[in-house]
């Protein structure tokens, strides 16, 4: 593979990412799926990078799940989003940072629509005014949370306590990067590196010492696809997609998967359990799975945060093998203790998938 070829493409897809003063909007589902991820993001930005990042207590869903699940019409979605912008405007911020890739995609879609159809923007302003009496400015910069981490990947590397390197062998960890579909497949120019060879996660992994795997089904969706998972009859399709990806990446023997989307880590993680229960197959070494992380979690690990503080105990596929490889110290006894030291309980062991 010619890396220079990819770099040439990445050059064509440089996007502007704001430097500071971020208005952060949360993901609906990540707080349940991987509750440590967003916390870690805020911690890195505030404590490590000393940035001004604000989240408004009144902000809501962007309606992306409903919109892609065919239950929320576009006009509703636009109006809700307009309200988010109004909150941002009221708080005096201009740079929007969504935590969720689908939100990022929907914000991009709405802004692109308004750009091409000003009459729609006028209509939405009218709707918002009638509904809430609020006014708003269009954000100056919209960057996904992973864009922000990408921008400061060098700073994080400088402060890093660990690298994405197998301490036993000294070789870089083999990392599969998986980009959420809504990140750049709809608007290639809005994603770092474009749609075909997105660079946003690769940049982090390479900067932090890892090696990225390009496997044939790299571009394939994780299978969440909203309707696909939400309707039980379609779940076979959803898991089929993940299955296809695992089969394709298996020969490369990846050490871990890094993602930038709420749904992808959830499904790439949990489906490994479901597949192992359905047909007995596992994709890691010794009957283990391939650990799946969000980019914030990986950044947190690199910075030396306690794995249990960043929420790795709620992952289905055990993270310990990768912690061991990276040489990260952790206390197994505190794995299932909550923030206040209260015992959370140990989840039931899967019948196939090994710890």
């Amino acid at each position: 593979m010619e890396l220079t070829g990819k770099q040439n493409i990445w050059k064509d897809y440089q996007k502007e990412i704001a430097d500071d003063k971020y208005f952060y909007v949360r993901s609906c589902v990540r707080q349940n799926f991987f509750p440590g991820a967003e916390t870690t993001f805020l911690r890195i930005l505030k404590d490590e990078l000393h940035k001004d990042i604000y989240e408004h207590p009144c902000h809501t869903t962007c309606t992306g799940i409903g919109y892609h699940g065919d239950v929320v019409p576009f006009d509703t979605a636009m109006t809700v989003i307009a309200r988010q912008f109004a909150l941002m405007t009221e708080a005096g911020y201009e740079n929007l940072v969504p935590s969720c890739v689908t939100s990022f995609g929907l914000y991009s879609e709405v802004l692109e629509t308004w750009h091409h159809f000003p009459e729609v923007l006028a209509r939405v302003r009218e709707h918002l005014r009638k509904a809430t009496g609020r006014e708003f400015n269009i954000p100056k910069n919209v960057a996904h949370a992973s864009d922000v981490i990408f921008k400061f990947r060098n700073e994080i590397a400088q402060k890093a306590k660990y690298k994405l390197i197998n301490t036993a062998t000294g070789k870089p960890l083999k990392v599969v990067e998986h980009i959420g579909c809504h990140y750049s497949k709809m608007f290639p120019a809005k994603g770092v590196g474009g749609a075909e060879f997105p660079y946003v996660l690769i940049g982090m992994v390479e900067e932090w010492g890892g090696e990225v795997i390009d496997y044939p089904e790299r571009r394939h969706c994780c299978g969440f696809g909203f309707r696909q998972y939400l309707v039980q009859a379609n779940r076979g399709y959803s898991i089929g997609c993940s299955h296809k990806k695992f089969e394709s990446m298996e020969p490369y023997e990846p050490d871990m998967i890094i993602t930038n989307c709420p749904g992808c880590p959830m499904f790439l993680d949990k489906w490994q359990y479901a597949i192992s229960e359905m047909n007995g197959k596992t994709y890691g070494k010794n009957g283990q799975g391939i650990p799946v992380f969000t980019f914030e979690e990986v950044a947190g690990l690199v910075l030396g945060y306690d794995p249990w503080d960043i929420g790795l105990q709620v992952h289905q596929v055990s993270c310990e093998p990768i912690l061991d490889k990276m040489g990260i110290k952790y206390d197994p006894a505190t794995k299932y203790l909550g923030k206040n030291g209260k015992y959370l309980g140990v989840p039931e062991k899967p019948s196939v998938l090994k710890d």
């Binding site: 593979m1 220079t4 493409i9 749609a195 571009r219």
Partner: protein
Amino acid sequence: MSKSVIVIGGGIAGMEASAYLSAMGFNVTLFEKDEKLGGHLLNWERLFPTKRLGSEVLTFLKKGMDDKIKVHTNSNITKINSENGKYFVTNDNNEIFEADALLITTGYDLFDARRKEEYGYGIYDNVITSAELETMFLSGKPIVNKQGKVPKRIGFVHCVGSRDRKVGNVYCSKVCCVTAVKQATEIREHLPECETYCFYMDLRMYGAKFEELYNEAQEKYGVTFIRGRLSEANETIDGSLLVKVEDTLVGRPLKMTVDLLVLMVGFEPSKGTKDIAKILNLSTNSNGFIEVADEHTLTNVTNLKGVFVAGTTTSPRTITNTINDARAAAAEIACYLNLYTIQSRNN
């Protein structure tokens, strides 16, 4: 004193038009940006549909170039002025040449396959262009992939950079289909054990003997044709490529691995064509090629009096058609310089 014509671009059209104009008694000056005359023909081993050597045609063209033609190679045009129906052409040596008529034969460039990102040209080792495959044929060396292995399966992707709004080219490049068929059969001749697959949208076998070549490819050479455009190519662990396509005749998606993927790159107006258009203020058509005065009747005439065009400067075409067009342009210029009234029909 006889009248003079400057021909810009020493490819097939430029050479043949120069030969005809000189034979008709005009003073001809030919400019070529490269070291050698012949243009793209220099890079082509065998020609469709006959599979004769490209060098034979080049020899034929060279024979037409008599001593009276003044050839300037390694020469770029920087400025063109016009005064009283005469043209003054300046090259990058700051020499100025005078002519009564100009013929633009700056031709085409091949599409830069990097722009079709999803096919991974320039990224994946074993994605090459049709021109690169031709270079392999021309070199006479064994056909191997980047890993030095003899390919067992080769895929040809038609319409790369053609008929594709996403790369900005809606037109058909006309020669890629038959080139793919030709190259696939040549592969079978070189490597009888190697399977060849053509991924096409439509097979445009419009020329004389093209359909016969296609039939031969199917029956004699066993080339498999799959109607469907590649959505993407991905490298697998052994360096082969997994291609995904909708087999539109079956109505189902299909995936297969190939050891070598050949992109049939289309035609785009060359940099030279675009530069000259800017220098002269020539009109270009929606595809970026030089616009002709009339699509049916004045295919060598431009919006500027005394400036003529020939060959792939106006649209993609085959070598045969380029040679014909060059001769037509020579006749057109002769009419113009001898003040024949034939063109007044369109006034």
